[in-house]
């Protein structure tokens, strides 16, 4: 294999230093203008989003008390899945990014927020906000490029372990929450000894504590409540109905325990489903952020002495958007605007759709691509890459040319 076939022209090669500086100025201006405009309507949005999410969670939990009845189980699982998705994506991810810190709210704040996942807020803020958002798509530095267990770029060195990646890709999809928590530990840093033992111990304790509360909540506490509620219901109905009591009091108790047990299992399985739905969804959205064919990756040498303009271009070309309806964007935490999110990670997510046209204009003026595609296409590309790069070799996929307006599709 010829090494040069894996080389692509850098997306900023055609820009002079002066142009890059100018470009940085334009992006800074979009940022400043939008931040200056933040106010009451943004606060109302996030507050009502949080309130709606909590109502949805309550609805789901209440319905799942009756999880042994099929319609309640279906409706409850759907409500709980949606609540968990919103909690992780539009609320948790974005609050922990500091997108709402400007409100100076004591609770809706990146320094005090905790979320419904196995990762501690502190570890995640380090691995995601800092490592991933600062070193985005730099090979070897951005630990999110394949999450240290997958080869998703042909320039990553092949290793026989990757032969199994089609399998653990599926596992990661189902158990994404746990994958992310372990990924936060940064195995490379542990192996190289750049992370102290005390630090690792502290982080493990953090994960253990969060894991415990996650498991207790979804697989012990709520199912138990469902079981108790249904056992009480059964016993109550039998007593009121005045039916002939088969087996006397012991029979009543036995039947109540049976019914309660069934409810316990039904509620636990509904909660497991909701967790998996949330995991698959966040996996899909997040993998579409940087792994579709359009995105560029960078070698450390390419980004040495990177200017602010260079940083913006890397963020711009290292991410890819997903096209979708407003509901899709809310459910994906507005990460369908991955490009805008990477340019301005701490800008409230609601503003990404509004600034997208301005970002496109900058792309058009500076001859830069604006990566975007429909959900199915993007996800398909990601899966193809994961399958292909499980094997050695591979070449970079063709990259889109400069953005030339809505009427001129790239490529």
């Amino acid at each position: 294999m010829n090494a040069t076939t894996t080389e692509l022209e850098s997306p900023l090669a055609h820009l002079s230093e002066g142009q890059l500086e100018q470009l940085a100025g334009e992006f800074d201006e979009i940022r400043d203008r939008t931040f200056a405009d933040l106010g009451e309507r943004d606060r109302r949005y996030i507050e009502s989003m949080i309130a709606m999410q909590r109502r949805l969670a309550v609805l789901g939990r209440v319905l799942l008390l009756g999880a042994r009845y099929r319609p309640a189980k279906l409706a409850g699982t759907a409500a709980l899945s949606m609540a968990k998705i919103l909690e992780n994506m539009e609320i948790g991810h974005n609050v922990l990014h500091g997108q709402w810190d400007w409100m100076n709210d004591p609770q809706i704040n990146s320094s005090t927020w905790d979320w419904d996942t196995a990762s501690t807020a502190e570890a995640w803020k380090h691995s995601h906000n800092y490592v991933h958002h600062t070193f985005t798509n730099i090979l070897g530095k951005d630990k999110d490029l394949g999450y240290e267990i997958m080869r998703i770029d042909p320039r990553q060195k092949w290793n026989p372990v990757y032969l199994a990646q089609p399998v653990y890709n599926l596992l990661l999809m189902a158990f994404f929450e746990w994958g992310v928590a372990l990924h936060d530990l940064d195995f490379e840093a542990i192996r190289k000894g750049t992370k102290s033992k005390a630090q690792v111990k502290r982080e493990l304790a953090g994960i253990r504590s969060k894991a415990k509360s996650q498991i207790v909540k979804d697989y012990v506490a709520w199912p138990l409540l469902s079981g108790l509620a249904m056992a009480a219901l059964d016993a109550g109905l039998e007593a009121r109905g005045g039916k002939r009591r088969r087996g006397g009091l012991a029979g009543v108790v036995r039947r109540a325990v049976d019914g309660g047990g069934r409810s316990y299992r039904a509620a636990a399985s509904a909660n497991a489903t909701a967790n998996i739905v949330r995991n698959v969804w966040s996996y899909a959205i997040i993998f579409c952020g940087h792994f579709p064919d359009q995105t560029h990756t960078f070698k450390p040498a390419e980004v040495e002495d990177e200017s602010r303009g260079g940083w913006y271009v890397r963020q711009l070309t290292g991410a890819a958007n997903i096209e979708g309806s407003p509901l899709f964007h809310v459910a994906s935490g507005n990460l369908g605007y991955q490009v805008e999110h990477h340019l301005f990670p701490d800008l409230p997510s609601t503003r990404y759709a509004e600034i997208a046209p301005q970002v496109k204009q900058v792309c058009e003026r500076y001859g830069l691509p604006y990566n975007s595609g429909p959900f199915a296409q993007q996800l398909g590309m990601v899966q193809r890459t994961i399958l292909r790069l499980a094997l050695p070799g591979g070449t970079p996929r063709p990259k889109p040319g400069p953005y030339r307006g809505e009427d001129h599709p790239a490529l």
């Binding site: 943004d42 409100m103 100076n104 004591p106 320094s111 909540k217």
Partner: protein
């Protein structure tokens, strides 16, 4: 047992608290932080309004003269301010009141005086202040107040008015003009009802300011009285000097309102930083971020991107103001979360890191 039960209930709601759901029904039910609902707003003067607030069930009460930290949302941003409580302790209806006066350049007073509506929910912080009327009150009292400095005095006066104690009070109050006298009606009402209350109102626009020398005329026995002074710093200093010179300073009690910060500082002055948690102290010049100054002084601080995007480095500002090095904007109030990587101190600051 109770703790175990509470723990079990909490495990249902992790990582949130039951309160997070309770407050969906009624925001006042949160036990995590005290909140209050605005019940009524009475315009006292064209520029001051009394805001009557019903606190949540955790209200622990206050002493007459104390102030309250109160948090409100203005244009989506949460602000904390301190206002003297103007209600007497233990009101029948359980409500409390503050009486902010409009500061045109301010953020919070325009909200209270112009925008706030009954039903709005506010956060209630701690009650603080040592400028209080003792219980039982002294037999002879002199109140000296000016402008909105009357607010803590009002709580004291109301508490005396509703109390049993028979007290002899002389109250010297100054206001620039007649229509600007906060609580004018109430003061007159109390004067009519209470034999022991003597109000000496001075309209400074017409009669000039009250000078320390005027005390002998306004209240000849001022030396014998417990004096409670509340108003602008200049007035307090002048009066203070009189008490020290030929009065009894032990009988003098003052409420000093904080001077306005900012304005007199030049562009990017830098300043001294005290890191409250680590105890490290550092100096930063105008272009040095708090983070860099702290690290150079040997503090271990959280940091991330060092460019203001990742919010890893945030710390709570306890005192002072900072300058955003990217925009040059000076900002900061107590309790605000500050990104240390892109902000420099503007004057001395304290930060909880």
């Amino acid at each position: 047992m109770r703790r175990k039960a509470l723990h079990a209930v909490r495990s249902l709601f992790s990582p949130l608290l039951p309160d997070d759901y309770l407050e969906l029904i009624n925001p006042l039910w949160s036990t995590r932080e005290l909140r209050g609902r605005i019940e009524r707003i009475d315009q006292e003067t064209p520029e001051a309004a009394t805001v009557l607030i019903r606190p949540g069930f955790e209200w622990t009460g206050h002493l007459p003269g104390q102030y309250l930290r109160i948090g409100v949302v203005v244009d989506g941003v949460h602000h904390w301010r301190a206002y003297s409580l103007t209600s007497e302790p233990g009101r029948q209806d359980g409500c409390i009141s503050i009486t902010p006066k409009l500061v045109d350049t301010g953020k919070v007073s325009p909200y209270f005086v112009r925008q706030a509506r009954p039903g709005d929910v506010v956060r209630l912080g701690g009650v603080e202040g040592t400028f209080v009327l003792p219980d039982p009150p002294p037999a002879k009292i002199l109140f000296v107040s000016a402008g909105s400095g009357i607010t803590p005095i009002m709580s004291m006066l109301r508490s005396l008015h509703h109390g049993e104690a028979c007290v002899d009070v002389v109250h010297v109050h100054s206001s620039r003009d007649r229509e600007g006298v906060i609580f004018a009606n109430l003061l007159n009402e109390i004067e009519r009802a209470e034999e022991g209350y003597d109000l000496r109102l001075r309209i400074t626009g017409e009669q000039g300011r009250v000078a320390p020398a005027d005390l002998d005329l306004l209240c000849p026995d001022w030396r014998e009285r417990h004096a409670y002074l509340s108003g602008p710093a200049a007035m307090l200093e002048a009066m203070c000097e009189r008490w020290e010179r030929d009065g009894n300073p032990d009988l003098l009690h003052l409420e000093r309102f904080q001077p306005l910060i900012g304005g007199e500082l030049g562009e990017g002055e830098g300043g001294h930083v005290r890191f409250v948690k680590s105890g490290v102290e550092a100096s930063c010049d105008s272009g040095t971020p708090i983070l860099v100054g702290g690290e150079e002084a040997g503090a271990t601080l959280p940091f991330g991107c060092r460019m203001g995007i990742c919010h890893t480095c945030v710390g709570k500002l306890c005192k002072g103001e900072v300058r955003d090095l990217r925009t040059g904007e000076v900002h900061g109030s107590e309790g605000e979360m500050i990104r240390t990587c892109v902000n420099a101190p503007e004057g001395p600051i304290e930060i909880a890191l």
